[in-house]
Symmetry: C3
Subunit: 408 residues, 3 copies
């Protein structure tokens, strides 16, 4: 047995576990920032995403995303996983960084993440069945095909587009779909009324905070594992840039929002941390600590203005998913052309092209899924259901049946 | 220093940490699925289990379970841990997969798990002192002795019985005791009344969901560490089968229960995931991905019918522990004879014999502990205490004193 | 690439992640043990500590704490991190246990921990801005300078003072500042009234329990990583002593408190576990399992009497931080001279000297920060703000806006 393979493979398995754990982080964040009456509904969506996401990625996603030799736009290596264990042929030389199984599982955890981002934006009003159909099609087809363009060795990879761990391939891919979805869905009842923006405070700040800290921890695996080996220099540098960008994002968002709103708003601090994490993700292995702090700090400021912008254009994004994942995802992707080892005009233009390609496929893809759904079975729950809460209507339960809850 | 030992040992230590973390998962799941008035009581039980469990396993469990050469039924290598650090004799060649210390701690975390399973089933009505006595005797004696039959190289191991990570040795061992305990304890007041089954919704679905996701993460260590080395092929295959079975269990339980009950019941989704995990545990290193999905899917369906069955025979299991850990544990153990590398009639029969042996020792063992307790100091709290909540009576506190709670 | 470096570095990165995760543990513990009306305020403090702490440690802390050759009292290797990635000079031979980046990040996570300890003690009444200034100065200057005396190779290291993972360098350093702070701050309104000690039960026991279990898990990294390599013997022994001390601390505190107060007090169980963990930290790599159990058991008893003592001298420490981190930190440091490989009168005296040196610098340092703050911008919120809650006043939000909360 090759010792270095074993070592690398351990690191990749740990990172896989950490990315898996991000699903708890997303779930906590999302329920924390929304109202208690829709809590079970959100948890249910998140359970569906991680379970169905893994099954779909096993059935077809993995082989769409990493089809081997292909035309650079679309390839498919067949249904199911192809490395049987019974015939003794498991190829340990598959890659010196990990086994075939580790590769599948690590990438499978990523795939589910993209859908989770959408889940937050559409929370509190989407029809569950329609969301399930979206998840199946988006994780099953759009995410892996779009992903193959870069990580599968497709045309964007050939062109020199750089996205280390997925500011674009994961976060923007989720973010674009979130944007399309909230545009088609419309705002929650009462959010924009008489020209005013209604406040819908999240129901549980400890969960929201725990969600962000769990996500930060998960990012150790998300970025650290994207080195695709345990290379000591690259993995450890990546963790440093990741953590510094998160820290800078949080502090920057805290300062900018407290200057602007004269208030210590914890949701800004939280989303600032996430913005910093999303921002560093495209180039986490290419930046110095100072670069990372700058990228994170800009991302943190983007959050404050981005959240306000989404409100101003009358889109309703309960958790700030578009600002965090789409806007900071674009920022991080472009930042690869501005900071660090790859900085340069050519690289910046290439990054811009990459961002544009993903914008097109994701907007088209998510529109082609959500629009027909809207025109047929519908994507939005009834106003009665929305007002009284999805938990009681779709799940026949209350998330906290023993607590006396305020009506509002 | 041998590099491969170091590598393997890292993996085993990480897995130890993950199995430890399952105790938070169990605690969250258990309080989430029960009423708020008994929350502290449950947390207290779980703290007792992990702390006392480790001390007991250090004092005698480890040396009962792994006694070295013995008669195959019962052996004991002496009190306490035997690898002193002061005399410079620590044997790094103890095992190429881990050191003596890692071995102890990994196994110690497992030992405590078995008792936690019982804790969920008896929740909301058991007398704390009696439960403590049960824990001491069951973790201290029954679990390690029964475990020695297979993992300690005893007679079931000789016979070819296979239980990779404990569908039987851990989960059924907990599950049988849970069954005996709830039969002796009786149902909670109001659970079965006038021929109807009362609904006792859990008080906190976010905790229940977090519990399951933490348990799933913990299973990376539970199964991944049961390879007893960092062998890249086996560990990574094991993580893939584990995760696919969990995913299939959840989706299957979700579908079956929504068809049957016309309702999206999150507790079924959650227990389906756990059922899939318990089901794959006996053969996680012997299955293909397809086998794993099938095993998980069957386990998910078993959960729906199993929970209903326990209700129908008028046993009160607040968290579904018997369906999850006992029934799916048996299913997973038998599945080793049906699917994967070891499938065959002989193996199936051997698995059946193993299941039977553990049934006998665990039913007898737990009965011999609980029955005398019932006849002497009692195992059930007073009906006043049960109605008003164990937290106030046994702990003089409320788990959430600042919240206005509904009476019921 | 050197395989052993890669292996060691993986372990250190994992431990870094685990120590990071302790910040969620501290946050959960602290909000769990305090009232709901101050929840956001506490979470905000904790977010500030981890983000600003990392930035400060990057800017100057790391180079103050590990200045290389210096006079033994004070040294500084310059602002910022000095290992650039652009010029190809990253020195993989920096240390055979980890890279420069890993070293920084692991130590940076420790730095932030010290301030978190203070946060718990001053909860529910400190003015946020003043606390922020304290954090900047204490993490930025006092912690790293004091730390350099031992871990940076300073005069206490030369003298033979032993503190493996920070019973003194981290926990007492936080604990002394906590003591000074609560003395200057005064007790919460109503805590000591008419000669009686008021009860302020924490608002969420599940969070408090989750916090402790997460902290215990984090200690796998805190102590396990302090080996500074993945040495299989030392790391695994360290995990065993750490877990046994935690277990013994919890059981001991449970028994002592239930004998003394005739009550199963979960907060005592929780703080007992933490006391055991803090107690073993100074000598976790030097103890036998039996030593570890004894050290933990004594720490558990200390908690029960320590918490009562702090109350009796009319200091108000909402979470028991002084008993856990300061008193058990001192106990653990002295225990190195009593138990294990280093036991002896000379060592005991050296340990005592070390404890004294840290007492002086920390009491002085925190007084010189807090006292001027008290005399200028003030360190305590208005009584109106304290009564109504810091969340509404400083953050304009409620942590659980959907729940009907009891007034008190």
């Amino acid at each position: 047995m090759d010792s270095l393979l074993t070592v690398n493979n351990i690191w990749m398995m740990i990172c896989t576990g950490l990315v898996f754990f991000m699903h708890l982080g997303f779930a906590f964040l999302e329920i924390g920032l929304t109202r208690q009456k829709n809590t079970i509904n959100i948890l249910f969506k998140n359970l569906f995403i991680i379970t169905m996401g893994l099954l779909l990625y096993c059935l077809l996603g993995f082989n769409l995303m990493y089809p081997g030799e292909f035309n650079g736009f679309l390839g498919f290596a067949g249904f199911g996983l192809s490395s049987p264990i019974a015939d003794g042929s498991l190829d340990l030389a598959y890659n010196e960084g990990y086994t075939y199984w580790t590769d599948f599982l690590f990438q499978g955890m990523f795939a589910a993440t993209a859908a989770t981002i959408v889940s937050g934006a559409v929370a509190e009003r989407i029809k569950l069945n329609s969301f399930f159909i979206f998840v199946v099609l988006y994780i099953g087809l759009v995410y892996p095909i779009a992903g193959s363009w870069k990580w599968g060795g497709g045309f964007l990879d050939e062109m020199g587009f750089y996205d280390f761990a997925g500011s674009t391939l994961v976060h923007s891919v989720g973010g674009w779909a979130a944007l399309v979805a909230i545009w088609l869905l419309g705002a929650r009842i009462g959010k924009f009324k008489d020209g005013k923006i209604g406040a819908f405070p999240g129901h549980n700040m400890p969960f929201a905070t725990a969600g962000v800290l769990i996500l930060w921890l998960g990012w150790f695996g998300f970025n650290g594992g994207s080195v695709l080996s345990a290379d000591p220099e690259l993995t450890s540098l990546t963790l440093v840039t990741t953590c510094l960008a998160a820290a800078a994002g949080g502090v920057s968002s805290f300062i900018v929002s407290s200057v602007r709103y004269k208030n210590y708003d914890i949701t800004m601090f939280l989303n600032g941390i996430l913005g910093g994490l999303v921002g560093i993700t495209a180039g986490a292995d290419q930046m110095s600590p100072t670069d990372a702090i700058l990228i994170g700090a800009v991302a943190g400021a983007i959050i404050v203005f981005g959240v306000a912008l989404i409100d101003r254009i009358r889109l309703d994004d309960p958790v700030g998913a578009v600002a965090v994942h789409l806007i900071c995802g674009i920022w991080g992707t472009l930042a690869v052309g501005i900071f660090g080892n790859l900085a340069g005009v050519d690289q910046f233009v290439t990054q811009l092209i990459g961002v544009g390609c993903y914008a097109i496929v994701c907007i088209l893809g998510s529109f082609l899924i959500f629009y027909p759904l809207k025109k047929t079975i519908g994507i939005r729950v009834s106003s009665k259901e929305e007002t009284e809460g999805l938990d009681i209507h779709e799940h026949g339960m209350d998330a906290y049946p023993d607590f006396g809850l305020k009506q509002h």
